[in-house]
C-alpha cells in the first residue's frame, strides 16, 4: 500500500475522468441532444397549434360579438326600412290617385265637350230637318189636301 490513503491512484482517477469525458461526449451528442431537440421541436409544434387555436378562437369570438351587435340593431333597422317603404308607398298611392283624378277630369271634360258637340250637331241637323219638313209641308199644302199633307207630315215625324 502506498502512502496515499485508501490506495488512491491519481493516474487511475484521471483515466476514470477521461473515460467519463468521452462518455459525456458520446451520450450528449448521440443521445441527449437529438432526443431533447426532438422533444423541443414537438413541444414548439404543439405550442404553435395551441396558439393558432387560441387566435382562431379569439377571431371567432370577435366575429360572434360583431354578429350579436348586428343582430341587436337589425330590429330597429327593419322598422326604419318598413316605415320608409310605407311612406314611399303612400306617396306613390297619392301620385296614382292624383293621376287618376286628373285623367278622370280630362275624360269628363272630353266627354262633356263631345256631348256638347253632338248636341249642337243634332240640334243643327234637327233644325235642318224641321226646315226641310216645313218646306215639304208647305209644298204639299199648296199642291195637295191639307189632311194628306198633315198625315204625311206626321208620318215623316214618326220616322225620324
Amino acid at each position: 500500500m502506498t502512502g496515499i490513503p485508501l490506495n488512491l491512484d491519481w493516474q487511475q482517477i484521471l483515466l476514470h475522468l477521461l473515460n467519463f469525458v468521452v462518455l459525456f461526449a458520446i451520450l450528449y451528442f448521440l443521445l441527449y441532444k437529438p432526443v431533447k431537440n426532438f422533444i423541443e421541436k414537438r413541444r414548439k409544434a404543439y405550442e404553435d397549434i395551441d396558439n393558432q387555436a387560441k387566435a382562431d378562437r379569439e377571431e371567432a369570438e370577435k366575429v360572434l360579438a360583431e354578429y350579436k351587435e348586428k343582430l341587436a340593431g337589425v330590429d330597429a333597422e327593419i322598422e326604419e326600412k318598413r316605415n320608409a317603404v310605407l311612406e314611399e308607398a303612400a306617396h306613390r298611392a297619392d301620385d296614382i290617385k292624383e293621376g287618376a283624378r286628373k285623367e278622370a277630369e280630362e275624360i269628363l271634360a272630353k266627354a262633356e265637350q263631345q256631348a256638347k258637340n253632338d248636341l249642337d250637331r243634332v240640334v243643327a241637323e234637327a233644325g235642318d230637318k224641321v226646315a226641310q219638313m216645313a218646306q215639304e209641308a208647305a209644298e204639299k199644302a199648296m199642291f195637295g189636301s191639307t189632311e194628306d199633307a198633315y198625315d204625311a207630315f206626321l208620318d215623316k215625324a214618326e220616322e225620324k
Partner: protein, 279 residues
C-alpha cells in the same frame, strides 16, 4: 399443466437443486481460488492492492477501470445504433422505446430545470450522463464478466464506482461542475457559495464509494460460502444492485442539481440600512 405434472416438475427441480448443492459443497472450490481467505478478498475489494488487470499491457489498473471502459464502449455502441436507426424514425406519438428515451432525457432535464431554474442547460446534460453512468455501471456488475488478473487468477469485473478512484473522480467532477457553474453565473459570489460547500466532493465521492462497495462486499461475502450462494444472491445480489443503481443515480443527480441551483442563483442586493439618527 395439471396438478400431477406440476408436482413432478417441482420434485425434479428440488432433486436437481440438492444434487448441485451437494456437488458444490463436496468439490469445495468457491471464491477467487482454492483456499482463498475472505478477509483478503474483502480487503482487496476496498483497496485493490492484490488483483490488478493489465491495461493493454501498458499499466496495471484496478478492475473497476476496465469495467468503466467496457461500460463506455457499450454506451457508444448503443448510442450509435439509436442515433442511426431509432432517432430518425421518431414519431410525434411515441412508441415504447421512444417513450423510454424521452422519459429518461425529460426526467433529468426537468430535474435540472426544477432544481436550478436560473441555469439548467448544461446541468441537464451532466446529470443525465452521470445518472446513466451510475445506473448502468452499477448494473454492469450483475453480468459478472470474467477477466484475468496479473496474478493469473480470474476475477469478476466489479461496478466501476466501487473502485475508490472512480467514485472520487465522479464526486470531484460533480463538485467542479457546481463550482464552475457558480463562477460562470455569479462570478466571485459564485466562488464563495461553492467554496462554502467544501465538504461536498468528499461526501459525494464517499457516498458513492461506500454505497457501491457495500453492495460488492455483501455479494462477495455471500458468494464466498457455497451454502449461501444459492437463492440468496437473487435477493441480495440482484435486488440490492438494482436498488443501489437507481438510488445512487437519483441521489448524486439530485445533490448535484440542488447545489448547482444554489450557487447559480442570482444574489439579491440587500437594501442599504439607513443610519438611525442618534438620540
Amino acid at each position: 399443466m395439471n396438478k400431477k405434472q406440476k408436482t413432478r416438475a417441482i420434485i425434479i427441480f428440488i432433486c436437481l437443486f440438492v444434487v448441485i448443492l451437494a456437488g458444490t459443497i463436496l468439490t469445495g472450490t468457491a471464491g477467487h481460488g482454492a483456499g482463498e481467505d475472505i478477509s483478503v478478498a474483502m480487503k482487496d475489494a476496498v483497496l485493490h492492492e492484490t488483483y490488478k488487470v493489465s491495461l493493454f499491457g501498458l499499466i496495471d489498473v484496478n478492475p473497476g477501470l476496465i469495467s468503466a471502459f467496457i461500460v463506455t464502449g457499450v454506451f457508444l455502441i448503443f448510442c450509435i445504433i439509436v442515433r442511426i436507426f431509432v432517432i430518425p424514425k421518431f414519431k410525434t406519438i411515441p412508441g415504447k422505446f421512444q417513450l423510454l428515451l424521452e422519459t429518461a432525457v425529460g426526467l433529468f432535464s426537468n430535474m435540472a430545470k426544477a432544481n436550478s431554474p436560473h441555469s439548467y442547460s448544461f446541468l441537464g446534460a451532466y446529470i443525465f450522463v452521470a445518472g446513466a453512468y451510475i445506473c448502468v455501471s452499477t448494473l454492469f456488475e450483475l453480468f459478472g464478466i470474467q477477466v484475468m488478473t496479473t496474478l493469473g487468477t480470474p476475477i469478476s469485473l466489479p461496478a466501476p464506482l466501487s473502485d475508490i478512484n472512480g467514485a472520487v473522480c465522479l464526486g470531484v467532477l460533480s463538485y467542479l461542475v457546481i463550482f464552475i457553474g457558480g463562477v460562470v453565473k455569479n462570478k466571485f459570489k459564485g466562488v464563495g457559495k461553492a467554496l462554502k460547500e467544501f465538504s461536498l466532493p468528499i461526501s459525494m465521492s464517499f457516498r458513492l464509494f461506500g454505497a457501491l462497495l457495500s453492495g460488492a462486499l455483501v455479494t462477495d461475502l455471500i458468494y464466498h460460502a457455497s451454502v449461501t450462494s444459492y437463492g440468496i444472491p437473487v435477493i441480495v445480489g440482484v435486488l440490492f444492485t438494482i436498488l443501489h443503481a437507481l438510488i445512487q443515480a437519483y441521489v448524486l443527480t439530485t445533490i448535484a442539481s440542488t447545489y448547482f441551483g444554489e450557487v447559480t442563483e442570482p444574489s439579491v442586493k440587500k437594501p442599504k440600512k439607513t443610519k438611525k439618527a442618534s438620540a
